[in-house]
Subunit: 337 residues, 2 copies
DNA sequence: TAAGCATGTGGTACCGGTTACATATAAAAT
DNA sequence: ATTTTATATGTAACCGGTACCACATGCTTA
């Protein structure tokens, strides 16, 4: 591989001029430019990114730290992040934290040593102290679904509370009268907000009781167990709003095993809008987050922050949308009217 | 951040000694070692990975080039790759090629400039010339499901032909008598091999005709269309073996829309073993590839190759396993006997 | 006793870029 | 006519490591 010095020699100018030409920093005469172009062409020169990184402390690399890429929520997000990153000339390093603080911190250490330009966190373990420390060290951070108390970084999230209300309203409009909720682990803000949204939407209703809320684990298995518990406790439930799609799938499975008709006897609604919801039988109604857009946005924000064109840190709350499908379709609903 | 020179100064030795200590190359006196340890501790010194990369042309970074992380086959693979990579101290860069040669080549260019240590290809566009060129430039490559004619790199794949036969045999044993096949795009070797396996397994049967093979696109939509075409052509089909799980899901959807009972009238079997197969209704029988193991293996091989402990390039053919589930469960099958 | 070798350490060129600073020329401003 | 100013280019230090080579010491071996 040719180096910048080779090019300088062949073009008959100094390395500084080549560098200036390459980075469009400083003056370069048009004729000199031509000579340089030719030399570069002739030598098939490509500037070395690592050397650049060392000299300029900029590597055009960002990291995406998420709990687990196998979790169906994240592939689409990752895809979006990578799409816009590559569009802006950045490369993406993938890290699976399993939501374990230790792993996260160890990744952060490695990434710092690699002069990574910025980090996207889609994780719940991170505490605001970490974020602050990162920012202090000059590493831009953008978070997903996490609001560090002291707003030390930008955040992208979606309207969980509103989404939960949408779900409940939809179920009510479909004629459901006893709507239960399977909520996710309360250390996840998303789970908490959705639970709050649900409560706000149903607490004024006559039948309301805290026993209609059961804990799940944001996974299929937890959805199954929660549904079993729920149906035992309240055999008269006619709708289940699950805190995420995986648990809704679990609910579907559990109800099917029990011989309960969906949506006939019990309607089911999920949250997230992952692809899976389209392949269940019946297809699953869900409150869809704009997953790809969230990834694209978070990536764009990070890059802006890296390149210094971001005015101030901000929280972006994206709209969610109810996607009505078969699992909540009740002929006696008001929606049809 | 402290540098190696700071440490050297504080410890009262030369940078060379520090470097030797850090890399355990060459001699370092035990007492000197203690002094160095103290200095490193005191300064909270961490060697700079970029500088190391520049000096040693080794970055402890590998790249994973795959068509699309959103495709449900890949997240688990990516997870496995990252797991073992991080276990060995490597970091993973994620690249989505969309199976487009241009994108792949452009990624390769970028990665070379970054002194990446090796590449894992899970892509079908790459031709053997590319692989050879990489290897010539000293960048280790390992491929997934791709056999470059000239064995210039290691390959990890699974037994597609055998898997297809397993599927057909299973369907036959469940009492199916007219088994159709939806095959994937023939530029994918996997698709081709599965088709061959199917043909070999059914061609000697009385009912066999090429019209039982329909083309799909390896996606849900293609599975739906192929199934529609198929059922119109052969209303007497009693089993569909799809070339991958996504198309099998499509088949399930299409059959459900047509009011055809699965597995009652038509049994459905997929291929791959992605998570989706467990959430369909009925749950989908599939020929499971050991996806995680494939990712782990391919990653381990690459790292061995990078570290020079791999004797020779080799092709690893992993076993597949039939996972019988509800979608092929027929009471009149022999399996129960 | 001299050569040979394992141990231990330092000096410094090198990896391949960036960039501050010095320098030079021609045109514009005073 | 002199000072500015914009244009243009080169020199060399620097980023933070690695590693080759030189050199010193103490002990074994011929």
């Amino acid at each position: 591989m040719a180096t910048i010095r080779d090019v300088a020699k062949l073009a008959g100018v100094s390395v500084a001029t080549i560098s200036r030409y390459l980075n469009k920093s400083g003056y370069v005469n048009v004729e000199t430019e031509q000579k340089i172009k030719k030399a570069i062409e002739a030598l098939n020169y490509e500037p070395n990114a690592v050397a650049r990184g060392l000299a300029g402390k900029k590597t055009n690399t960002i990291a995406l730290i998420l709990p687990d890429i196998s979790n169906p929520f994240f592939p689409e997000l990752a895809r979006a992040v990578e799409d816009v990153a590559s569009m802006y000339g950045y490369t993406v390093i993938l890290c699976n934290s399993d939501d374990e603080g230790v792993k996260e911190k160890s990744y952060i250490e490695v990434l710092k040593k690699k002069y990574i330009d910025g980090i996207i966190f889609a994780s719940n373990t991170l505490d605001s102290a970490d974020v602050e420390q990162m920012t202090k060290k000059g590493i831009p951070v953008v978070c997903l679904d996490r609001v560090p108390p002291k707003q030390s970084c930008s955040v992208v999230r979606s309207k969980n509370r509103e989404g939960a209300k949408l779900a409940v309203e939809h179920l009510l409009s479909m004629g459901c009268r006893k709507i239960a909720h399977i909520y996710g682990p309360q250390e996840f803000i998303t789970a908490k907000e959705r639970l709050v949204g649900y409560e706000e939407a149903v607490k004024h209703l006559a039948w309301y009781s805290p026993t209609f809320m059961v804990q799940g684990d944001f996974r299929i298995e937890g959805g199954i167990r929660a549904t079993e518990l729920l149906m035992e406790r309240h055999p008269d439930v006619d709708a289940i709003f699950a805190g995420n799609d995986l648990m809704a799938v679990g609910a579907l499975k559990a109800l099917h095993r029990m011989g309960v008709q969906v949506p006939g006897q019990v309607a089911v609604c999920g949250f997230d809008g992952i692809g899976m919801t389209e392949i269940t039988q019946p297809e699953l109604t869900t409150v869809a987050q704009p997953i790809y857009e969230m990834g694209a946005l978070v990536s764009r924000i990070l890059i802006k922050k890296i390149e210094g064109t971001l005015e101030a840190d901000q929280t972006y709350e994206l709209d969610v949308a109810l996607v009505p499908r078969e699992s909540t379709l009740r002929r006696n609903g008001h929606e049809s009217s």
